[in-house]
């Protein structure tokens, strides 16, 4: 039985740094980045949209990798990572749809259109949601880990569809929007900052899941005694 150990040293500094990164990113994106000629200020939502869309995709691949690792090793440690990635990925996927919809309304004049990449993003979100619901219907343990691992591996077959959709089909979603160099720097900073924040949330959630699992094991041992 492992012992729960937590180190609080350095945590406030880390959180403060991340909040500072987030605020700086917001200020730079809102006030310092140049205004796009055609769409105006609404284009600034792209600095968040592209970053969270990237994280949603990355999260899905990471979740599938954790699922595969679980099936091969049968170590529940991988399942905890998979669960934490699913929750963070769902958040990013939801933000992708919301920010994309805001941008689409300004750019295309509609909140939603059946463009292939939008459909693929929606499928990704539905998969994250489906995995969370599947897991909520099962008790903690190997069965839940096994079924969830298989589901995410099936789901990751969808990720190439997301990436290649605009190449396979003719859609209206921009593949690689043209940007000023200064806009690209802001976008890059936004992606790095949001990736760092989501990674921290991921690690925190995984630790929480580990503690929940340990508490459950202790409860079961207490019940047996």
């Amino acid at each position: 039985m492992g012992i729960i150990t937590t180190s609080k040293s350095g945590r406030p500094v880390l959180w403060t740094s991340l909040v500072a990164v987030l605020l700086t990113g917001a200020i730079v994106a809102m006030y310092l980045a140049p205004t796009e000629q055609t769409m105006g200020d609404v284009q600034r939502v792209m600095y968040v949209h592209i970053a969270v869309a990237w994280l949603a995709l990355l999260g899905f691949v990471a979740m599938a990798a954790c699922g595969l690792a679980y099936l091969l090793s049968r170590n529940l440690w991988w399942d905890q990572w998979s669960m934490a990635t699913c929750e963070i990925g769902w958040l990013c996927s939801t933000l992708t749809l919301v920010t994309g919809s805001l941008w689409a309304h300004a750019a295309w004049g509609t909140w939603w259109t059946w463009d292939p990449r939008l459909v693929s993003s929606f499928i990704l979100w539905a998969f994250y949601s489906g995995n969370l619901i599947l897991r909520s219907g099962l008790d903690d343990g190997p069965q839940r880990a096994r079924l969830s691992a298989v589901l995410v591996i099936i789901g990751v077959a969808d990720v190439p569809l997301v990436v290649m959709a605009t190449r396979w089909f003719r859609g209206i979603h921009p593949v690689s929007p043209a940007m000023e160099p200064s806009m690209r720097y802001v976008l890059l900073a936004s992606m790095v900052g949001l990736t760092a924040i989501m990674t921290l949330l991921l690690v925190r959630r995984r630790t929480q899941l580990q503690h929940e699992s340990l508490v459950m094991q202790l409860q079961m041992q207490a019940d047996e005694n």
Partner: protein, 223 residues
Amino acid sequence: MASKLWWLIHKDLVIEYRVRQAWPAMLLLGIIVAVVFNLQMDLLPEQRPAAAGALLWLAILFAGLVAIERTGAAEQQDGCWDGLVLFPLPSSLIYVAKLAVNFIALLALECVLVPLFVVLADIPLLRHAWAMLLVAVLGSLGMAAVGTLVSAMTHGLRQRGAILSLLVLPLLLPVVLAGAEASRLVAVGDVGTQWWRWVQFLGAFAIVFTTLGIVLFGFLVEE
């Protein structure tokens, strides 16, 4: 191996023929959905192919879920599922057999729904019958591959029907979109490059998920 596969398929088809658990409900639901959809379709003739193609594949999806949900239903009582899994067979063979049964069920459904849409929506889906047949076969294979796998995943779960639908519908959305677009092109008589691209998409989908099913099914049936 082929004879074992045949007996597994034969067993399920005979049970369905004698007990009629899924097919009548599936066919009836498909017909009702098709009629209701077409009641709402008050469009100009040139707009009908696009709408009818999408509605056809939605009707196939909704009605097909009835058959998919009943996958393995015959083995749910008296520990028959455990008996089947313990039988000296590769688990992938059980998957292929269940997939084949679902594939046949979906093809039967399409044999009813496609002519029904031709009549109700007044669109020439059978003008290029071979093209429509190819779309139907590949679309059904993709649906059956995913449906069989997810059905095995939700075997014995609480609220199985709801969870199955939640998982299957997003996965099958690409098949519905590709099937709808390919059907529309068949209806307008454009079975050229664009139609072929959608057919390739359906084929790739079917290959990817059938392969995944063969590889992953063993993990779902282990205790």
